[in-house]
Symmetry: C2
Subunit: 489 residues, 2 copies
């Protein structure tokens, strides 16, 4: 191959530079290496590894980590997949633990979608959107319109849709919290638009500090950025921070003043360990009721998902977003955009319905549902605190208490010795990446370096889920950390 | 609102112009209107409509049109959704028609994915990719590498991935057949890249004429377009045309000569009514075997789906693509891009496995599988011919015989009287759009105008699926057409 002519159409130098620039560390090199270890162990070839299991604490993937699905949801789904089982409903009830409300729900959903193998409307099946609207109404105390609900393949797909519509030119900017879930920066990268970072306040439990947003907006505008939207992740990912009602009001007032689309990523709305979740939709409707006319044109998109919470059905790729206050011409373009992908997975849509309309008190499946739901909630909380206690004991590690946090993650700060930073630089890695690779290689525990989410210069973190069962893996981290500090002290 | 300041962040004039420019007629205004009619009828308010059912012949959505899912697939899926049913396997076998191979398959798939509620690897579960590779090997007679298989949310998502990676700048061009499935033009629009159209040869059963591709490429290059890829839809959508092996070889030779990525959209590979399907992968491997060294760097992506064929599981959003001959650095970028969406729906992945590895002769579920599969195939063929016979009788309509065509569609040419074209212009519509709206309003039958797929200037077509059961609706078209011709003659 001495010729200088390219061999192929595509090479690293001529493909889409925006795709190349996108970073998505949650499933990056560390995750790939952890999969190699896992497969090695599965083949019984892990004799040279200093651990016998891989702990994937890098992604919020509850059912990969032994969280059991909620029985009601899956019983319903089994009937949707094989409706001929409905002919044997008595048998399922008598012998297999199905209840009459499972059968009734499956029948209702089959009426809504006809078959889970058929495309639905691009926006999602109307009957399911009705249930979502009722859920929002019950949650917030204000009506919701099924016509403004868009079912989606997880919340990621909704974010992708909204950013596609919003980003009109290279100067378009979107305010994104740092640290953030990297979907936002990755998608803005692919769209060739600007991420306008605003820093969350670690010293105050990662709270959203309005003045930080204001100054980020001002600097971006000075730099010629046409800022159009503001992303809030509440409860936060990776930080877990939960916004109080008063902060939500301030953010909405700010968005109204500055004419910014509010993108409220609320997928962790049930992962709150203290106090209760307040939605942006509720905050907006309250402000609208209190000060008529002033907030009529606030554009809010609020996203939810079946992947998180106690549901944890990530593999089904279900979610929804609600549009509030958008120009109908813009809504028509959003509709067209989602129609190009035809429709979200229909079983995922049906699980959205189960999530927003679970068994109620008095329903036959209620007792088991309640028990399973509460069991998962308590298990998460217990593991969160166990991990937090372990972090507290570690030298050079600081971590917010899960008591004021939520979601599925802890995001501790780590201080590593100067020698570790030097060694990282030699290996061409950031110190937090270096730390996480060493952790994986030594213990099989896979976490994500803070640089994958963004962090203030000079600070180092990692994100770990608290989904993995047991506490053995926490012990592995503790031991590794001590050895690491000793090695580089 | 007398102020000239904008009320909101977003309006039609400042959102992404690329999204605005995208066209996707398959689910456009006609489809929306047909849904309104359908809901009206469902509410019992259709008294003023001249029809009592809506026939959605606009999209290939078999199960919405009463095609029954294949029992084996759905029995397996029901067990995946509720694995506790495996504890009652004997009962399901004894009473509910489940066979031992259904149970075995569900167990195998659960081993592959752990839970259908868990995220899989972004590329798809390894065990399922192994099955896909075996299927390709059996189909083509050449090995396939599971590491080169990417499971996807239907083929659409695979096309979206590949075009994202390929389109690097506004001058990037992709050769697309006209007429085409509008996913291609819509996605190129969103990416701000150029569609380089080449016309299929209607006079010769919509065949792919290499000289048309050559001249389209030459003109595009003259206009400064950096053409990087060539899309082939085989069998064709909307045309149904199937490429013979010899034409496939010529196209591959051309792609090798011109260094173009070959995007082979082969989702209708089992919808062939005469002769047999030949894959581009097979064509490439044969050429490589015959003339060693000459085709080593041909880049081929071949796409397949569970949405079409006799499977028809569109709502499950499953599919795969195979990458052949790509630079490993480019493959790494493709992997990263798909990882941003986390993973394809896991039940959809499992149905891909069932599609590529169905019950075999000797398996307990084979007899029923064979019967169902053949029944769907024969039903499609029968309806295709019934529709074709009806079109043949209509004044001013010409249509290719399904005997030399495949896929799920007919794409007849229509000649409308000059007065109809004038009336269309008055209403701001193309004559084919006008015709299709009149057809929907008069009969409830929804088809897609040829302009939605592209057609030669001055020619008019529409695309109809032949999925709807019965023949009543064909009669409705015949009667409408006669009335329409009489009205505007």
């Amino acid at each position: 191959m001495s010729s200088s002519a390219p061999l192929r159409s595509l090479c690293l130098d001529n493909i889409n530079p925006r795709v190349k620039a996108a970073k998505y560390a949650v499933r990056g090199e560390l995750a790939v290496r952890s999969e190699i270890y896992r497969q090695k162990l599965a083949r019984g070839e892990g004799g040279d590894l200093p651990f016998d299991t891989v702990i994937s604490a890098n992604i919020g993937n509850p059912q990969q980590l032994d969280q059991k699905p909620i029985t009601f949801f899956r019983q319903v789904a089994s009937l949707l997949e094989n409706p001929t089982l409905l002919e044997h409903a008595d048998l399922l009830v008598e012998k297999c633990g199905y209840k009459a409300d499972v059968v009734a729900r499956a029948k209702k959903l089959l009426k809504d979608v006809k078959s889970v193998g058929a495309y639905s409307q691009s926006q999602g099946a109307p009957g399911i959107r009705d249930s979502v609207a009722k859920f929002i109404e019950n949650r917030d105390g204000f009506p919701a319109d099924p016509a403004s609900i868009y079912l989606s393949a997880g919340a990621s797909s909704g974010v992708n849709t909204m950013l596609h519509v919003i980003c009109s030119k290279p100067e378009t900017g979107v305010l994104v919290p740092i640290p953030q879930y990297p979907l936002y920066t990755a998608t803005l990268s692919v769209l060739g638009a600007r991420c306008v970072p605003y820093y969350l306040d670690e010293a105050h439990a990662w709270t959203t500090d309005l003045s930080a947003i204001e100054s980020a907006l001002a600097s971006a505008r000075d730099a010629g950025t046409d800022v159009r939207a503001l992303v809030i992740i509440n409860p936060g990912n990776p930080t877990g921070a939960s916004l109080p009602a008063e902060d939500i009001r301030k953010v909405i007032e700010f968005a109204a003043r500055e004419k910014l689309v509010l993108i409220a990523d609320e997928v962790y709305q049930t992962n709150v360990f203290q106090g209760s979740f307040v939605s942006f939709k509720k905050g907006l409707r309250e402000l609208q009721a209190e000060r008529p006319g002033e907030f009529d044109y606030v554009e809010l998109v609020s996203l939810h998902s079946i992947s998180k919470g106690m549901v944890g059905e990530c593999g089904h790729r279900g979610g929804y977003f609600e549009l509030v206050g958008f120009d109908p011409d813009v809504v028509a373009q959003i509709y067209k955009f989602v129609s190009i992908s035809l429709c979200p997975p229909v079983v995922g849509q049906c699980l959205v319905e189960c999530m927003v309309n679970p068994p109620k008190e008095g329903d036959e499946s209620y007792a088991l549902y309640r028990k399973e739901y509460d069991g998962i909630y308590e298990g998460l909380m217990k593991r969160a605190f166990a991990l937090y206690e372990a972090f507290k004991e570690m030298e050079g590690v600081e971590c917010q208490s899960p008591a004021v946090q939520g979601s599925m993650y802890l995001f501790p700060t780590i201080h590593v010795p100067a020698k570790a930073a030097e060694q990282a630089a030699k290996e061409g890695r950031t110190p937090d990446e270096f730390y996480c690779f060493r952790l994986l290689d030594a213990t099989g525990v896979c976490v994500v370096p803070g640089s994958g989410f963004g962090q203030k210069d000079g600070s180092l973190h990692f994100r770990t889920t608290f989904l993995a069962p047991g506490t053995d893996w926490v012990g592995r981290i503790t031991k590794f950390h001590k050895d690491f500090m000793d090695e580089f002290r």
